[in-house]
Amino acid sequence: MKTSQIVDCRLQISNCLRSSVGILRFAFCILIFAFSSSASAQSFFNSRGLGEITPAGDARIAALAEPSALSTLNPGIFVNLNQTSFSVTALGAATVGTQGANSRLLPNIRPATFNVATPLPFQARLFAGINQKFGQDFDVWSESLADTAYRRHIIGRGGIYALRAGLAKSLFGKVCIGAEYGHIVGGSRENWRFELEQGGYTSTDTVEIDYSGNTFKVGASLQTRIFSLAGYYEPQISMNVQRYKRVHGAVGDTTRTYHISLPQSLSFAGSLSPTRRLGFDLGLTLNPWSGATITRNDSVSRLGFGNVWRGSIGAEYDIDSLHPVRIGYSQQTWYYGTPSDQFMPPTAIKENGIHFGTSVPIPKFGSLDISGELLFRNSYTIKETAGRLMLTLAYSEAWAKRTRRWGY
């Protein structure tokens, strides 16, 4: 009997190891696929403003409705960083837009973020990462009316990314403060196509926009076993924008240079863990961007963005020591609305989201965090339902259970 138990135990261990390798291989494949893909998250609303504000890009945070102050976007989140850690996230998204009686799906998959952090002497931390701040991917067709046989097809691809690096200092094992420098790079390319009457397309215009700039962020967090408080402040996002418009037929390129300035952003979050297995969190992000300006040839004008906020509430419950489940709800208004016309004023884009997820521990590696999100966006004319699946492969030097420990 004893021998049989030992054999059984060995078998279980072997299975467990095999399954870990399988999970790793699966996660690796997904990530490679995501990183080799050029598409990114699309929205029917992305053709305006700077595009959609992209999520933090961490499946664990996404499952809790994305309280971004508790994510690695907060430079002061690294209270308990004992090992060098990194995480890489892939995002798969499918967006169904409905306008009138028409529905259309825009599916895609893309890399979301890469973050790395390492402890330094004197409880200091060095961290870096790359993430998308705004997504500008869209794909729309014009209507085909009786008196216009032609159609337009406009495809936008691109986004604005932040290359981040910073330093943090943990104090008393419970508090952390940090500062981060971000270099903003990115670009979008819009291809305006015109469907010919005889069939086929002619590519009429290409609009390319390059963004570059710098940003600075400070953040802090207080983390105890019972509760955590976190917040960060980004004084301004300042970008130089260069626009190239290539009119293919006329073989004439035009270039314009702008300067875009977004006012400050603030994000706060708090979490409460009444028991070791249960926790709640609240998040609030404020983007008072009505003062956003664009400067052209020394002429400054407002971009027409709004003062908006995003709120979230989430909960996490550990079924057992290795299997947490997470759920959350978020609500926000986009910082820009739909365009106005003679019949209709500009309309705000409202978004409600349901978030859920879990984690799968990977022995001797870290964990694979999985999140699913359903986002319901409404404007006056379009309803959009976006489903997002996020996978974060998180590595720690020595495996440790990750539970309600913000940052890493």
Partner: protein
Amino acid sequence: MKAFQIADCRLQISNRIRSSAGILRFAFCILTFAFLGCNTLPVGYDQLRDRVTGASDTTLVADSAAGYLRYVPLGGSSMLYLGRDTSYQSRVVVRFSIPDTMSLDSITSFQMVLHQSDTLARMSFICRPCSLEWVESGVSWQMSDSFNHWMNPGGDFLPDTVATGTIAGDSITIDFKYAGLDSAHRAAIRKSGIGIFPQDTGIVAVYSGAAAATAPRLRVTYTNKGKETKRVISDIADASLIDTIATRSNPLDLLVGSGVAFRAWLKFTIDSIPPEATIARADLKFRPETKYHRTDTIVLAIHRLTESFTEKGANARFEAVPIGSASYFVPADSDTVVTIDIRSLVQLWTSRSDTLRNYGLLINAAPEWSPLFRLRIPRSGPNAPRLEIQYVLPPEDRFK
């Protein structure tokens, strides 16, 4: 034990049913997503409303038009035309390079072989020696080369007939009475070639030297060192010399034709189209009237003028490479409209108006030695040339 087996079996069946339903549901989801993902329905286009500047359609009529004819060199064509009818007459000139090793006095037999494309056609003809040298690339009804006129329009020939024949079937061998010719005739044939004159009504097409297998050729028999030698010599130059009575047609007619080249010049004012517009479509349309045709498929080409027609008239130069072309099928009914895509030309005119001036366009036969035809293009009315243009303006900036 048996009860356990039955329970296990039931469980398996239940699992399979569940799994089948799951597969069906999954397939339904995939199909729904595929439908939603593949369609091109207009969702979200209104988000770009303030950036779209729109597309415009415009139809222009020619504000200047003229026609002219040219006796174009027809050397180097793939077919030679021989014949005459109420509208055209055509002769053929051919020249051979007879090597110096063949002493004129030693030639005992001198035969010319011609091949025709239509094996049912028949044409009697006579051959006369040319009295004036000509150049294949420049020879026409009026010119012996690019610079010199014939002394007599239609070519200069000696008056004597050196051979006669009737072409029928796929080829003919013409026997020259070479032994009876005097040295002046022999020298003229050798130096300037042979003219072939039609004797019947109708026009036949003879293969030119462009294709080696069917090229006009000589079969020469001569005596070399007391031994009879035979040699086949392909022609080195050939051309049709074509004239038409249509030169006396209404000078206001816009004619397009081959053989004797009729060309029509049209000018459209396109200043109303913004220079930054992308031309999505520019079709030149007209409904011609067929005046003469020896083929049912007529190819027309459009050329860009590089010089002002109003200043230089018929001497205005044009680009050799056509901008566009279209086949016109001589219609059983009269509804056939010629449509020629000249989008690239209109785009050049609108976007590069500073360097590429709009001097108008030329409609001609492609090529001008193609089987004889002549079309009349109305100057006005619903069948007159019109230029249908659709253009797209660039979008507004993302940030305003």
